[in-house]
């Protein structure tokens, strides 16, 4: 497959565009540049030729992205996977955005540290993809969101300019934090090619306590109230059907609740007792690496097949799920409670009603997948939309980055 010669790069950088379908539509060409200079060259050439670009990481979030209005070139960043600088004693890392989350995790684990980013399918998910999709996982409360962890970035703008904001040190207030703004931008504002992160030490001990819970127990506010004050690393609720994928023994009740603890041994033991006091004896306990593997499985549950609605909420305990009691969609839900992130997988025909029901209970819809007709229950403020539109126009005046189309004037 030969890309348009006008794209400038050697044909050796061309790859099969069929792998980069969005909503069933393949781009005219796909390129896999090997250096940041090649990324800039490709973007510049595309800008010159008026082509619309979509940057790709591991394709985890993009697998569910509908086809944009125009889609000429897929820019596969997976070859930019080098670690540029890792100084363990500084607890900072700078890497190219095509590096996989799993690879970074292995590198850091060898030095007793953790990459404070999570997301589904860590072997495929890339640093850039997790940042651009603002992905998180069950330990969201402990790590913060990607914007809390990113220290700086190097990006390619839609005209091919390479620009840098922030830096690699843990405190830095020099200049505007474009790198934070790009978290959640899905490659629609600029192409992220390098990022620096603030790391965390791996905890001395990890434990996962697993409980079964009935709908009535889930709805019991007082039962859960003490848990957030214990500052658990994980408090995730999973519906019965979704729990089957976790490889845990069957639990009584319709829900499985996982309390994850990560700390020094003495306090972890105390957290275990305090949890037992509030919730009773755990049905199962996993420790160390098996607990860590469970966190990834919980993140992976966010990628179940079919339509998905994702919500952000201030509810920080399972009791927030009370309105879903008895709802068909409860069987496959995943709720990372202290971080306030709920994913439900409804039948398409139920989605609108479900979104409306949850909106009344302080769940804000932040993303819908596979449900084209869904109207946001709360329309974004017009002034916010206009501001996004102005930012997009400032960074990409010719609208070369195809996924920025969502911020075009006039929508929503």
């Amino acid at each position: 497959m030969n890309p348009s010669p006008a794209l400038g790069l050697d044909t050796a950088r061309a790859v099969d565009p069929a792998r980069f379908r969005l909503g069933g539509t393949a781009p005219r060409a796909a390129l896999r540049p090997a250096t940041r200079g090649e990324v800039a060259e490709a973007v510049r050439a595309a800008a010159r030729d008026g082509l619309a670009i979509v940057p790709w990481g591991g394709g985890v979030a993009l697998a569910h992205e509908p086809a944009p209005a125009r889609y000429d070139v897929a820019l596969d960043l997976s070859a930019l996977d080098r670690v540029i600088e890792y100084e363990a004693e500084d607890m900072t890392l700078t890497a190219e955005c095509g590096a996989s989350i799993a690879a970074l995790r292995r590198l850091l684990a060898a030095r007793g540290q953790e990459a404070p980013l999570e997301g589904a399918l860590a072997e495929r998910a890339t640093l850039g993809g997790v940042l651009a999709s603002n992905a998180s996982g069950p330990r969201r409360l402990r790590f913060g969101s990607p914007r809390d962890r990113i220290l700086g970035a190097r990006v390619v703008l839609a005209d091919g300019t390479i620009a840098r904001t922030g830096g690699k040190v843990v405190k830095n207030v020099a200049g505007y934090a474009l790198h934070r703004l790009l978290c959640g931008s899905r490659g629609g504002l600029a192409v992220m090619i390098e990022a620096s992160l603030k790391l965390v030490p791996a905890p001395a001990c990890r434990a996962a306590l697993v409980f079964g819970a009935t709908a009535a127990e889930i709805a019991d506010h007082d039962r859960w109230a003490p848990i957030p004050r214990l500052e658990p690393a994980v408090l995730t609720v999973v519906g019965r059907a979704a729990a089957a994928a976790l490889g845990l023994p069957p639990m009584p009740g319709d829900f499985t609740v996982i309390v994850g603890l990560e700390d020094d041994a003495p306090w972890l033991d105390r957290q275990v007792s305090a949890t037992a006091q509030a919730l009773g004896a755990a049905a199962a306990r996993l420790d160390g690496e098996t607990a860590e593997a469970l966190w990834q499985k919980l993140a992976d549950l966010e990628e179940q097949d079919g339509p998905r609605l994702s919500f952000a909420t201030a509810h920080n305990t399972p009791a927030g799920l009370a309105p879903l009691s008895g709802h068909a969609a409860a069987a496959r839900l995943v709720f990372h409670a202290p971080a306030g992130r709920l994913h439900v997988f409804p039948e398409a025909r139920d989605a609108q009603a479900l979104a409306g029901l949850l909106a009344e209970k302080e769940f804000a819809l932040i993303e819908s997948r596979g449900i084209e007709s869904l109207e946001p229950p709360i329309a974004p403020q017009a002034a916010v939309h206009q501001l996004r539109s102005r930012i997009r126009a400032a960074l990409d005046p010719e609208h070369r980055l195809a996924l920025g189309g969502r911020w075009e004037r006039g929508e929503p």
Binding site: G167, V173, A314, N316, G340, A364, Q381
Partner: protein, 492 residues
Amino acid sequence: MSLTRAHLEELRALLGDDGVLDTEAARFTYEADALTFERGMPDVVVLPRSSDQVAALVRWAHARGIPVTPRGAGTGLAGGSTPERGGIVLSMSRMDRLLRVDAGRMFAWVQPGLVNLSLSQQVAPHGLYYAPDPASQQVSTLGGNVAANAGGPHCLKYGVTLNHILGVVAVLHDGMVVKLGGEAPDAPDFDLASVIVGSEGTLAVVTEICVRLLPRPEAVKTMLFDFEQVEDACRAVSAVIAAGIVPAAMEIMDRHTVEFVEAWLHLGLPLDAGAVLLIEMDGPAVNLEAQVGRVAAAARAYHARSTRVARDEAERAALWRGRKSAFGAYGRSANGFYIMDGVVPRTRLAEALSAVHALCAERGLQAGNVFHAGDGNLHPHVLFKADDPASQQQALEASHEILRMCIRLGGTISGEHGVGIEKRPMMLELFAAEDLATMNRLRAAFDPGGLLNPGKILPGDGDGRPATGARHAPAQLGGMRAGAGGAQGPWI
């Protein structure tokens, strides 16, 4: 720009008679923040009481092309709230209420004029507190903290202001009010609030803030070590981190600072030490005993000469007193001094400190250092003779060289004080022209007319007009003295 009588009447109609200050004496109070050698006289000072009043004011100014410079407590050290181009100073001092606390979900909504420490005091009955603790926390406001993305000694473990802001209500350049983020940790789409944090009031005027609250730590252990060599203290800091421990704070005072503090307060700090290292750990009591042992071992491995562990709150306060009084001690003892805020990677600290002393010594100057070692955030105090222009010029030169050194070592020019007016020229050395042009595009998207705190952060930004604010000769550097802060010199 000077305002007409009709303008002032319109403002009084919007904000009430007591919400508009236009006498020369009143305006004079607002011509600078704590960086007193950069000044600009505002044409008027306004004191709104609500988001709606702020919106009305900004809409009014937008329609007339008048600059608006938001201001908190005025403790900034970079000239960020100095109205360099005149116009309106928008003081948040009357918007100082805690609006709502949700103790169960551990967040609060506050107005921007609320004093940082007051928030922690007001939520204390719920067993909660607000973690970021800039040393100015007794006076500085949350709005100012958001504008500067303020840090503080405890941000080593807990992160900076950004990490504790869940959302804001902000007034955009044209007076539109938007809510960005909020109680739920995520807003859909790219994160507008996160770029407003740290933007020094140049992108929007924040009128309400949703902050994350944390459970008060069960226990605290505060330790003080002294070292013959400051380099060893720096290595001990790295060793603690390498051991997988993230203390709440790790602060170093060098020999100069100890001398100034001792001459004033007689705390019994060792005058022959090259450096004093304060380490504080907090969290569950059951964890701390073992951590104290590991930290002490790391310090001893790098030749710590003595170890003091506070046994109670009074002893803890005593150990902190020296650190917190450092600024005041300099103000009391030094003829003139200039505070800096550079950052280097933690592993380059020892090297950076040697460079600071060398760069000052070459110019016949002395520098003391008191800094957030855990974060690599240096606060060199360059001392000079306030009545000697040549000495002042050398101090400025030395300070620029120190920031260049921070950049060379992979760091930055400001860790928590902001760029403001003061470090604007250094932005050209930290960033390439394309980087600054990109930032300028972002700013223009927020504020196309360039009226929100114009001129700050980016060199020669926006409309390209040179700053018109009064520019004082370095002779004014002597104004950088501890004043109202007293023994708890609040600023760093």
